[in-house]
């Protein structure tokens, strides 16, 4: 009999970083799979997810927020919401967690050679985008420019803040055509960057669709308007990518609940090009 | 040899009377059987009988609910409301074949340390006679 796909493996939490202090708390966990064979087999690609869990509590599907170029650990940014994520937030560095995966499809990086990459993220939606951002930064020679457009409700809700600030201010990256455009929804003292929702920031920045790929992830309503604005800026359906999320239990296309049209988000997603997404009857 | 039956008894004690009463039992060195596991609630009136069912489901052989004497509730009428609910729930338990004696109620004030120890003794004896609750074993 083949391997049991429901059997999770143990992984150790190396470090934990609290990303946000706003209404919704997000922590980023760096984990290392204990079993060496499984660790070597766990070869993810940007865009993929994995099932994190605690035995006796349950499992949750979480995007992998680090790039495969990082061989040291895997990053997961977890927002404290339900039973499982709340329990994960209780854990400390050195504790054990369970993992199985990686699941789902990934960004078609082979097709994006030498293209300009634009990521448009909102809130926790930056997590899956972080895997591609890190990948592009690590393999800069394979891509053109990189524009990171990211916003959250308040500064307290911005994920990966220091990373973004560093990249933003780095002359090294500026010379290599890497630009960061942060925004918050409501004005705050000391904030000198854009104030307003992410789709508006996108319209203001007017990235060129030429030789570009735009990837967006965030709340459903943000995705909707980002896509609308991208189309208005002249992006073609094939140039727009998004990652979806739905409630998931099995992660392997059997338990049924995450379908969008005839696709299971866990297995056939989470990455959808707008060309594919727009033909689906219901959009998550 | 058959292992001696040592019942699990779950107690929900109201903060203002019975929990203080149980405390007094301890400080006054009155003895009572160690089978009782107490949970403090603010008032017996906040007890949902589902908590009783859950206690049975998770291994209790008997449940005790104890609060202030009638008319002495810190919240005026919480214990009266509890009495109604528990009365009805006992009847329901009996109707599905669970001995209602497994769900006991008592009024113990903060000064009745002796009474609390007697209540626990008596209930423990009762549950011992009834034997383990097997209804929720599966």
């Amino acid at each position: 009999m083949t391997e049991n796909p429901y059997l999770p493996r143990r992984a150790k939490i190396e470090s934990i970083k609290q990303e946000t202090t706003g209404e919704r708390i997000i922590k980023t966990f760096a984990v290392v799979i204990e079993d060496q064979a499984y660790r070597e087999r766990f070869q993810h690609k940007p865009g993929q997810c994995a099932m994190l869990g605690i035995n006796g509590v349950g499992e949750s599907m979480i995007s992998i927020a680090s790039s495969p170029t990082n061989k040291e650990f895997l990053n997961f940014s977890v927002m404290k919401l339900g039973k499982v994520t709340s329990a994960i937030h209780e854990l400390e560095a050195g504790d054990l967690i369970t993992i199985r995966g990686p699941y789902g499809n990934n960004f078609p990086l082979d097709e994006w050679y030498q293209k300009n990459i634009i990521t448009i993220g909102g809130g926790i939606g930056q997590a899956p985008l972080r895997s591609i951002i890190q990948y592009v930064l690590d393999k800069k020679g394979e891509f053109g420019g990189l524009d990171i457009i990211y916003g959250a409700r308040t500064t307290a809700d911005l994920c990966y803040r220091e990373d973004h600030f560093q990249t933003e201010q780095s002359v090294f990256w500026q010379r290599r055509n890497v630009r960061v455009h942060l925004s918050i929804d409501v004005p705050e003292a000391g904030w000198d960057r854009f104030v307003g929702v992410v789709p508006d920031n996108l319209l203001r920045l007017k990235p060129s669709p030429e030789n570009a790929i735009a990837i967006t992830c965030g709340p459903p309503v943000m995705i909707k308007f980002v896509i609308k604005n991208l189309l208005a800026l002249g992006f073609k359906d094939e140039q727009i990518y998004t990652t979806l999320e739905n409630r998931m239990k099995c992660g392997i296309g059997k338990c049924g609940r995450c379908n969008v049209g005839s696709f299971y988000v866990c297995k056939d997603g989470p990455v959808f090009s707008y060309a594919r997404l727009k033909n689906l009857p219901e959009k998550g | 040899m058959l292992k001696k039956f040592d019942p699990n008894i779950m107690a929900f004690l109201c903060n203002w009377c019975s929990y203080a009463g149980a405390d007094l039992t301890g400080t006054s060195h009155f003895h009572y059987p160690p089978n009782l596991k107490a949970i403090r609630v603010m008032c017996t009136g906040r007890i949902n009988p589902l908590m009783v069912a859950a206690a049975f489901r998770h291994g209790a052989d008997g449940v005790l609910i104890s609060g202030c004497h009638p008319g002495e509730c810190h919240y005026m009428e919480g214990n009266y409301l509890a009495r109604r609910k528990i009365f009805v729930f006992r009847n329901l338990l009996e109707f599905v074949g669970i001995n209602p004696e497994r769900l006991q109620m008592s009024w113990v004030s903060a000064s009745e340390g002796k009474k609390f120890s007697n209540v626990v003794k008596e209930i423990t004896e009762k549950i011992k006679k009834l034997g383990p609750l097997t209804t929720f074993d599966e």
């Binding site: 339900g82 039973k83 709340s86 | 009988p49 589902l50 069912a53 859950a54 489901r57 009638p70 008319g71 009428e77 009266y80 409301l81 009495r83 109604r84 609910k85 009365f87 009805v88 729930f89 006992r90 009847n91 329901l92 338990l93 009996e94 109707f95 599905v96 074949g97 669970i98 001995n99 209602p100 006991q104 109620m105 008592s106 009024w107 113990v108 009474k115 209540v119 008596e122 209930i123 209804t135 929720f136 074993d137 599966e138």
Partner: protein
């Protein structure tokens, strides 16, 4: 019942009142089946009918999906909901008015004095091949049934739904229009419950074990119940999780204890839980046992009076106390 009278009264309601939707009974395409129908215009009222086959309660549609029907009809601008209600339904409505704060004047009640309804499982069991039932009427303890090209007479007792046999409230207790003359009420009967109470504890436990082991936990009993309307049901919560999702005897027993207890002093006696159960659990026995005790001890009958306080929100210093140390 006279269909013409029902249809005319329904149309009159549409003319007189600002009605967004009328919930009534319509004949279904197959066999003896009756469906809830939602009438939105005066002309559609011709589809309405009532017969002893109308065993389902329509009251739960008032609260489904946070009372989507009560939000009114945006197209016609109507605001009120009209509903065809039997005695038990009127009790459920009274409970809803009290518990949910649904304004009485927002619901137009077409009251039907009810002589008891037919258990679909029984009549389908007797005539499994019936395709198109044209008529069921009742006279002097007999049902006169016509379907396809056949006509039959069946003693009422044989087909009557079990919970209807014990009904103490055949007449609507609250209504705006009364569709027929009131019928005689027998008063509540609990002989079957008393029989069960005589059984030994273990015997009764065996009886219920056998039943609960069958439960599929499909939640139909809860969803069909006009008084199970919580948006966030305690039976489904995961944190804290009172009832696990596992389907086994223990969890099923937990489920049914919680379900029936939550209806204590609230059950309107419509029998929906029992009617919809795909595995024939006698759930009304539990509800009626509590109804009987509550009536005898606390002199309280759910849904009998618009001004009553809920059973568990009230007390009497003289409530039973002898079970307490």
């Amino acid at each position: 019942m006279d269909k013409e009278k029902l249809v005319n009264e329904a149309k009159a309601v549409f003319s007189r009142e600002d009605v967004a939707c009328l919930i009534g009974y319509g004949k279904d395409s197959i066999g003896f089946r009756v469906s809830p129908i939602f009438i939105r215009t005066r002309d559609e009222a011709d589809q309405l009918f009532f017969s002893p086959l109308c065993s389902l309660s329509l009251v739960n549609y008032l609260t489904l999906e946070k009372g989507v029907l009560l939000e009114g009809n945006k197209e016609t601008g109507g605001e009120k909901i009209a509903i065809v209600a039997r005695g038990c339904d009127s009790r459920a409505l009274i409970q809803l008015f009290a518990e949910r704060g649904i304004p009485r004047e927002q619901v137009v009640i077409l009251g039907v004095p009810c002589r008891g309804t037919i258990d679909l499982k029984k009549i389908e069991g007797k005539f499994p091949d019936a395709r198109n039932c044209t008529e069921v009427t009742e006279a002097e303890g007999m049902y006169y049934i016509r379907f396809d090209n056949e006509s039959h007479e069946v003693p009422k007792e044989e087909l009557l739904a079990d919970h209807c046999k014990h009904c103490a409230f055949p007449n609507p207790l609250v209504y705006d229009v009364l569709l027929e003359d009131l019928v005689d009420s027998k008063g509540a009967a609990y002989s079957d419950i008393e029989e069960m109470e005589k059984m030994a504890l273990e015997e009764r436990h065996e009886y219920w074990k056998d039943k609960f082991a069958r439960c599929l936990r499909c939640y139909a009993c809860r969803n069909a119940c006009p008084l199970c309307y919580c948006d966030d049901c305690i039976l489904e919560r995961v944190s804290p999780q009172w009832v696990n999702r596992s389907v086994n005897l223990s969890e099923n027993l937990m489920f049914h204890l919680a379900r029936s207890y939550h209806l204590a002093g609230r059950c309107a006696g419509c029998g929906e839980c029992e009617r919809v159960c795909p595995v024939n659990l006698p759930l009304m026995l539990l509800n009626r046992k509590l109804e009987k005790d509550i009536k005898n001890i606390f002199e309280y009958t759910a849904g009998s009076n618009l001004d009553d306080k809920p059973l568990f929100a009230s007390f009497n210093p003289k409530d039973p106390n002898d079970f307490i140390f």
